[in-house]
Amino acid sequence: MPEKQPDSELEKEQEAGVEPDEARAESRLLNIGVSPHIRDSSTTAGIMGWVIVALLPITAYGIYMGGVSAAIVVAMSILGAVATEAVIQRLRHEPVTVNDLSAVLTGLLLGLTLPPELPFWMPLLGGIVAIALGKQVFGGLGHNIFNPALVGRAVLFVSYSKYMTTSYLFSPKAPVFASQSIKSINAITTATPLAAQGLVRKDELTVAASRYYGPLLVGNPWGCIGEVSAVLILVGLAILLYKGLVDWRIPVCYVGTVVVLSWILGMDPLFAALAGGLLFGACFMATDYVTNPMTAWGKVIFAVGCGIVTTVLRFYSNLPEGVMFAILLMNGFTPLIDRYVKPVPYGVRAMRRAQAAAEAEQAGEAA
């Protein structure tokens, strides 16, 4: 039986002639938020957290290979990124959202794309620049055009290129920088006598390149911290794909384009895929939500564009490696791609067909 007596309530209402105040008072108790009233459990922090988890194997191995200095580089870039995010959000009188982990992820990504032996202030500066210039000047999370971690890296790269590449080349621990080895491969091709054509040249190249397969796959001693092992990068990618966090089209089309173009241009395709920052960039940098297109075909265009630019920079520029600038360049094209590559909504094709038919009919009648 109902606890309340509907009769007495009814009578009161009838006497008053209007709906009872009680009804209005209840509005203070009941939430009237708009539908849907249930949401799935995903959160921004959850997504960022899983990307960080996907990066953990490669981070751990990178630090193991690079030693204490590598750990300092990663820690400093995370510190720089998180502190900058907090300070700027405080200055802008916004809620501080460092616990959504996006700044942590930016710092980690930056750290992993730096060589293991840098003065401690350099990754710190990189982290600051990544968040301040890469993200917050555009309005914070979701509003930036360029990948913040790559913005940080690019600034360090052009400001301290000696540290970022050459010093590293002479470091006793890491005798050859991965992208330099690409150059050396190129040198082999040019040095190969033109008389020895076709097979001979190809064989020689394959022999030279395949020497690097093993180290590149499992323990590359001359890359950046995050480039020490292609296998662990792919493990990270597998985690991201399993959790449905990235679109497979980007890494596949990016690496695929580079492989095909490099093969056409005469480089060992597998070497082209494994060397330098390509795998890391394709799996973790180009897949950044904010800075790549929203639609499936947009993503394909973006990734193929990244692949073309990377190959062009590798073969025809003074830069040792093209991944960073390729992704940054294509980031710039993302708004344009999103403007022109868009899904056709349900029923719009049918509507256009119907309109065309009606017009044709009208034209027929007029004739």
């Binding site: 209840e26 509005s27 009237i32 849907p36 056709v344």
Partner: protein, 468 residues
């Protein structure tokens, strides 16, 4: 059903989400709802024009008596669900959130039926026009939630031949089980109603579409189906399969044109509840005065599928099911994906009320963030069953940039809530899109009025020039 059929179906289905089904009341038989001492019958319970009251304060009304009607084509009359005395006609809280003109009737408990209500002779050989007239007089509207007047659906223009009647038994909203129970218990009524509809529109096929998540309902309907052009179609268990346009695409493989109706592609879609109501109307003559309401949620003591008289106050239905348990956070009429949260429990059950869900504070999503914080993950674009771009609709609506919303086909959004459900930043996308629709349509009307005025002025000028 082989894997090839499954593959074909899954290729036709675009987007959608998988909210937990939570069909708590699936095992509870349909039973009679409370016998209210007072009913509040709103004069607007459907899409289209509101009715004018046909009774006055103090009048005695009978069960099934028409108490409100309208001259508009897109409208349906309302009927008394009790016999008794009209105590007032005034504005009362309505599930839509507005106050709506409502006939308040105090019941005498006798349920004396109105005269002249009786079974129709042989509806399956009746003239289509007569079927439509009776359906309209019976106040039948779509009971799936959209409450579109059914007689309008049953009147396709002559250049739109109807090939198939799709009976919608998808019930993809979580928690709601009324249609499911109806299919288990009253399969014959549903099929009888569907045949009447088929007769009215001159279709050949009847396709009963049921989600694969309800195997018992599929079995029950298969058993009830005699072999005369009636088929059972199994839908994938994806929300929102029960939405009219999505359903037409999955079942027939055709897209309803943007801005059009299923009749444009030779289909008419009616909910199983609507079919059963039509069947009852023709078998007993009783107009739509009751509907099946699922009561569930952790904020209410019981769970039930009740046949509730329209106009019963929600609070009374909740009390009938054992009352509240704990502090209520949200009271939702309809399902959790598209239902309306109520500010009071003193609203009446209307023809649109498929469910009364009560959730405790803390067990339901209540907070909305203060700002639009998209991280461009693209899930809303992938999951939108209409293939729209909800993140753009949301951000343009948020910024008040109404003129950008046309190219995004904002009016094609059916507010199914898949985008907001899946959004990791918990953006209130449906809220923003509702605001955007309002702003966009207001602006469009204004621009059209301005254009008309301008062309009139130009004409006047021209005429003035001629006379001079």
């Amino acid at each position: 059903m082989g894997w090839a059929d499954n593959l074909k179906r899954s290729l036709l289905v675009k987007g959608g989400v998988h909210p937990p089904a939570s069909k708590l009341a699936a095992g509870v038989k349909i039973s009679d709802g409370p016998k209210p001492k007072r009913v509040l019958i709103p004069l607007s319970q459907h899409v289209g024009a509101a009715c004018e009251p046909l009774v006055e304060k103090g009048d005695r009304v009978l069960l099934g008596q028409k108490i409100g009607d309208s001259d508009s084509y897109i409208s349906a009359p309302v009927h008394s669900s009790v016999s008794g005395e009209v105590t007032s006609i005034q504005r009362f809280p309505h599930p839509s959130g507005r106050d709506v003109l409502t006939v308040e009737i105090s019941s005498d408990g006798e349920d004396a039926p109105a005269p002249g209500l009786g079974p129709a002779p042989d509806p399956l050989s009746m003239e289509p026009g007569e079927i439509r007239r009776r359906v309209r007089e019976g106040g039948i509207v779509g009971l799936g939630g959209a409450v579109f007047p059914t007689h309008v659906k049953l009147s396709p223009p002559s250049d739109r031949p109807i090939e198939a009647v799709i009976v919608n038994g998808a019930e993809c909203e979580p928690f709601l089980t009324g249609d499911y129970r109806l299919m288990l218990e009253r399969g014959q009524d549903i099929i009888h109603g569907a045949r009447i509809i088929r007769r009215a529109v001159g279709a050949e096929r009847i396709i009963i579409a049921i989600e694969q998540t309800g195997p018992k309902a599929i079995a029950a309907m298969r058993e009830a189906v005699p072999d005369d052009g009636i088929e059972v179609f199994i839908l994938p268990g994806i929300y929102p399969q029960g939405a009219e346009k999505t359903l037409v695409k999955t079942v027939l493989g055709r897209e309803v044109p943007s801005g059009g109706l299923p009749m444009d592609v030779g289909a008419i879609v009616d909910n199983v509840g609507t079919c059963a109501a039509i069947s009852e109307l023709f078998l007993t003559g009783m107009p739509l005065t009751r509907r099946i309401v699922t009561v569930a949620g952790d904020g209410v003591a019981g769970r039930a599928n009740l046949e509730v008289r329209i106009g019963t106050v929600v609070r009374e239905v909740i009390d009938f099911c054992g009352g509240l348990s704990g502090d209520p956070g949200k009271v939702i009429l309809g399902g959790p994906m598209m239902g309306l949260a109520q500010y009071t429990m003193d609203v009446p059950v209307t023809k649109a009320t498929g469910g009364i869900l009560v959730f405790k504070k803390g067990s339901v999503f209540c907070e909305e963030p203060g700002h639009f914080s998209c991280i461009r993950c693209g899930r809303c674009v992938r999951r939108c069953p209409m293939n729209l771009r909800p993140y753009l609709l949301g951000s343009y609506s948020d910024a008040g940039m109404w003129d950008h919303l046309e190219d995004l086909y904002i009016n094609d959004c059916m507010e199914c809530g898949s985008c907001a459900y899946i959004c990791p930043t918990k953006n209130p996308l449906v809220q923003l899109i509702k605001v955007g629709k309002e702003g966009f349509n207001r602006r469009k009307r204004k621009m059209e009025a301005l254009a008309e005025k301008a062309s009139e002025e130009a004409e006047e000028k021209e005429n003035a020039g001629k006379t001079a």
